[in-house]
């Protein structure tokens, strides 16, 4: 794997060098990273690149980015060779040594890094870059088998014995193994709801694994759920707020990936995931307290219906989105507390689990 990355980097550098030798303007090519350049195939179950490429030619105005891209490739190569790692933030600080090619703000270095990732068609962890953000929390009927980094010995982590705390998904999950007899995985949007379910040991009665995503799931979190679900043949159920963000950003990204990272969605998606709530119909059925939709929400709904290849494919989702737009409201997970703090455990989740027809694909 490591050699692959180095070879790709050298290939790119070589093509640039050859162009210059021929006195031609050097070019680099990377796939266009946007929702407009992805296809959704229901059978494959994830966003796939459409094949549109962005060609970058070195000109007076792009020479700085060009130099930065080469510097970043060089840095990546040195990381892979020395088997070291750097966070995105660290990479940004390393660039401060690059003279005029240094990055002024981190978003600039992040963009160059994302471009290289797509250019090499690998994920950035393979290039030696690791994300800052935490991967997500686990509690419930799962034993994670990890390795001690010093001795190489196996370590078993029992996620039922975390007390009121939880197990954190590491940044790299490829080496993990799992032991479980749970029946399903429940991926939850908010830490607050996760805490309530953990505190009342919901996993014990429902015989499941609880995962807190904390907003849009990180790559590590998505990969973890995918590996766990594939490995143990477990269904994945997703529980978010009943709003366009919960549907379109959190659930959609977990299930099929994102437009920005389309080149790696294959590994970072959970096509078997299903949405159990909160659906727009739930707001009606459970008479949930709601908030009015804002202009940005309407815009997001319109955008999802019109432009999102995933939402476009699934009629039920289109309907649900239209319904939400008509109701002009949204509801949070915690709104269930209107019927009692533990209504979610005693009534809502058991009802929803029983009635698969109330889910969304």
């Amino acid at each position: 794997m490591a050699n692959n990355v180095i070879n790709s980097i050298i290939k790119i550098a070589d093509s640039v060098y050859n162009s210059i030798k021929k006195k031609e303007k050097p070019e680099v090519e990377s796939p266009l990273r946007s929702l407009s350049n992805v296809n959704y195939d229901e059978k494959k179950g994830y966003f796939e690149l459409n094949g549109k490429f962005k060609k970058k030619t070195m000109t007076a105005s792009s020479i700085k980015t060009f130099a930065q891209t080469l510097k970043m490739l060089d840095f990546s190569k040195s990381l892979v060779v020395s088997e070291d790692m750097a966070t995105k933030r660290e990479a940004y600080y390393v660039s401060k040594n690059w003279g005029p090619a240094m990055f002024k703000e981190q978003p600039e270095s992040d963009t160059v890094m994302d471009d290289i990732e797509a250019m090499l068609m690998v994920n950035r962890e393979q290039m030696g870059f690791i994300p800052e953000e935490k991967g997500g929390d686990i509690a419930g009927k799962l034993i994670v088998v990890d390795k001690d980094s010093d001795t190489g010995k196996e370590i078993k982590i029992d996620c039922t014995k975390m007390g009121t705390g939880a197990y954190s998904i590491p940044i790299s999950v490829e080496h993990l193994k799992f032991e479980t007899d749970a029946k399903f995985i429940l991926a939850i949007e908010t830490a607050g709801m996760f805490q309530r379910l953990v505190k009342h040991k919901y996993w014990k009665n429902a015989n499941c694994i609880l995962i807190s995503m904390g907003g849009v799931p990180t790559r590590a979190c998505r990969r973890f759920i995918r590996r766990l679900s594939d490995d143990k043949k477990l269904p994945v159920l997703v529980f978010t707020d009943g709003d366009p963000y919960g549907f379109g950003s959190i659930y959609r990204t977990l299930k099929v990936g994102s437009g920005n990272a389309a080149h790696i969605n294959k590994y970072f998606c959970v096509p078997q995931a299903k949405f159990i709530g909160i659906t727009p119909q739930d707001i009606v059925d459970y008479k949930l307290p709601s908030h009015p939709l804002k202009d940005v929400d309407f815009k997001k709904i319109k955008d999802l219906i019109k432009n999102d290849p995933f939402m476009k494919t699934h009629k039920p989702w289109q309907k649900a989105l239209m319904q939400l737009a008509k109701m002009k409201v949204r509801a949070e997970q915690q709104a269930l507390a209107k019927h009692g703090l533990n209504f979610v455990i005693s009534d809502y989740l058991p009802n929803k689990l029983k009635n698969e027809k109330t889910w969304l694909p």
């Binding site: 550098a13 080469l70 490739l73």
Partner: protein, 573 residues
């Protein structure tokens, strides 16, 4: 009526009105100006020196040009101590006939220029005699005049004063003298004055005179006894300015009445054809028709009402514009030459507009700009104003030229300008108005009046040079941006070469080759870069010493206009 009959003859002549009438008496023009000398440009000592020299030089130049002689003027200012200065101005003109000398120099409102319409520097016949009056007032001295009309004539020497009560010259001394000059005039005046350098100094005045009159030579000795020579740049006298009669549109009622009284014509029709330009017998008839006056009316018998009718008739008659060959502009080439001598700039543009007319008076506007170079960029622009080749140094704010510059949208030409203000930047703007009658806002001839026809022409001239300026300024900005881009490129070429060397384990010569090739790749794309940088040595006509004249003690001289304002305010309280 009944009351009056009871008054005695004595009482009749003893009313309050009679008493007041005893105090009333003629005020001679000389007396009037004695008390109102600020109207003529003698507000303070510094300005008095300027005005005296200006009037003498203006007269000298007018005289030389009328006689078709290339002017060579000697100006000498001697510091006599105690704020007294001796001013000597000598020309190589035609000289003055003996009998005319006293009237020309020592009688106000006497002159050849007021009654004719001709482009000349002086126009009212006040200037030099006002200086004589001022000299008499402040030093008690007479003006000393030496003049010679040809080598066959003896030179005359006169000392003159003015009888201010009767506005008549007083001859103090006269004699025939030996003079090595074949023809010419020399005047010598002692006045109370002060000498300062700077923007409104005599040095600056003479320098600007040289700019606007490239055909003259001035030999100037300043009060520090330093001699400065402004040599002639052009061996050609400007075309002779023909004298024209007034155009009917340009005459006001009072003037009309005076002309009616003074004319030798026997009939109104003859009066119109003889005294005005662009009036033939046919046109004269239609004027009379429109005025409901009989063409055979005797002009001297016409009443005020009839004159007013005549004015109305003129207004209703369509007349051809006055002839334009009576004007002599500096010429855009000569103007540019003058600018180049004074200002070391990167770019010059000048224009001479076609002639135009205001109130029946033909005029021509000329304008020029000098941009960049060693001019300061953070100041208001410099404005040079000329009227009939005479520099205007005072009352810039009140002048139609300044107003027109302010009302021109300089930002369109790449020059920064705040609302309602002069633009700022490394720019000099010059405007010249040539006319048979320049409308000044006051007798001291410091600012041009705001006639809409004039401000419009000035604006058109400024726009014309402005557009030329814009194409240069924009080109320069573009090229500067381009060279900035290039230095940007050059910063990154070594980084690319180094990084590729690192990634591909290249040798040093391979790395150098990368850099070489990158330069070729990027250069070929961008083409040759035109050099628009300012090279101070490009302008071979620039005369550093010339440009420094009048600048020597710029720091410690206040703005005279401001000083004046303060004085005026003080006077009001």
């Amino acid at each position: 009526m009944s009351d009056q009959t009871t008054l005695t003859e004595k009482n009749k002549n003893n009313t309050k009105a009679h008493e007041l009438a005893k105090k009333q008496r003629d005020i001679s023009v000389s007396e009037f100006f004695e008390k109102n000398r600020h109207l003529l440009g003698f507000d303070n000592k510094r300005k008095a020196l300027m005005t005296t020299i200006k009037e003498a030089v203006d007269n000298a130049l007018d005289a030389c040009e009328e006689a078709r002689v290339l002017p060579e003027i000697i100006v000498e200012v001697i510091d006599m101590g105690n704020d007294r200065f001796r001013v000597i101005v000598e020309d190589n003109g035609p000289g003055i006939v003996k009998n005319e000398i006293p009237k020309i120099f020592a009688r106000l409102l006497y002159g050849s220029k007021f009654h004719s319409l001709r482009q000349s520097r002086g126009q009212q016949g006040i200037g030099i005699s006002a200086s004589v009056l001022y000299s008499q007032l402040t030093t008690g001295r007479s003006i000393k005049i030496t003049t010679r009309i040809s080598k066959h004539h003896q030179a005359y020497y006169r000392e003159l004063g003015i009888d201010t009560i009767n506005n008549k010259p007083q001859i103090k001394a006269e004699k025939e003298v030996e003079w090595d000059k074949e023809n010419g005039t020399r005047v010598e005046l002692d006045i109370e004055a002060s000498y300062l350098g700077g923007n409104q100094s005599i040095d600056e005045y003479l320098k600007e005179t040289a700019i606007a009159n490239p055909h003259i030579t001035i030999i100037y000795t300043n009060p520090k006894a330093e001699q400065i020579i402004f040599p002639r740049a052009l061996e050609k006298i400007p075309d002779e300015c023909k004298e024209i009669k007034p155009h009917p549109y340009g005459v006001e009622l009072g003037m009309m009445i005076r002309m009616l009284q003074a004319t030798k014509a026997k009939t109104l029709q003859a009066f119109l054809t003889q005294e005005f330009v662009r009036v033939g017998s046919g046109t004269a008839k239609s004027i009379c028709e429109n005025a409901a006056l009989i063409p055979k009316t005797k002009p001297s018998k016409m009443s005020r009402e009839m004159a007013e009718q005549l004015m109305k008739g003129i207004k209703e008659t369509k007349l051809r514009a006055p002839p334009m060959d009576c004007l002599s502009p500096i010429g855009s080439e000569a103007l540019e030459k003058g600018l180049k001598k004074e200002i070391n700039a990167e770019f010059y543009a000048t224009v001479t507009r076609p002639p135009s007319v205001y109130r029946g008076n033909p005029f021509i506007i000329e304008a020029g700009v000098a941009f960049g170079g060693d001019q300061p960029a953070d100041h208001s622009i410099r404005v040079l104003r000329f009227a009939n080749r005479v520099p205007l140094l005072y009352q810039q704010g009140a002048c139609a030229v300044t107003k027109s510059i302010i009302n021109t949208a300089w930002r369109n030409y790449g020059i920064s300008q705040s609302r309602g203000a002069l633009p700022s930047g490394a720019l000099t703007v010059v405007v010249h108005i040539a006319s048979v009658w320049v409308p000044f806002t006051s007798e001291s001839k410091e600012a041009i009046a705001h006639y809409p026809e004039i401000t419009k022409e000035i604006k058109l001239a400024l726009q014309e040079v402005g557009r030329k300026l814009a194409s240069y300024v924009l080109k320069k900005k573009k090229i500067m941006l381009e060279s900035k881009k290039r230095s940007h490129i050059e910063k990154f070429m070594p980084i690319i070469a180094d990084t590729l060397k690192d990634l591909l384990d290249l040798k040093n010569d391979e790395k150098d080759k990368i850099q070489e090739n990158l330069a070729i790749i990027l250069e070929s794309e961008r083409g040759e870069l035109e050099d628009v940088g300012f090279n101070p040595n490009n302008n071979t006509e620039y005369d550093r010493d010339f440009a420094q004249i009048g600048r020597s003690n710029e720091d410690n001289n206040g703005n005279e206009d401001e000083e004046k304002k303060e004085e005026n305010n003080g006077g009001e309280q």
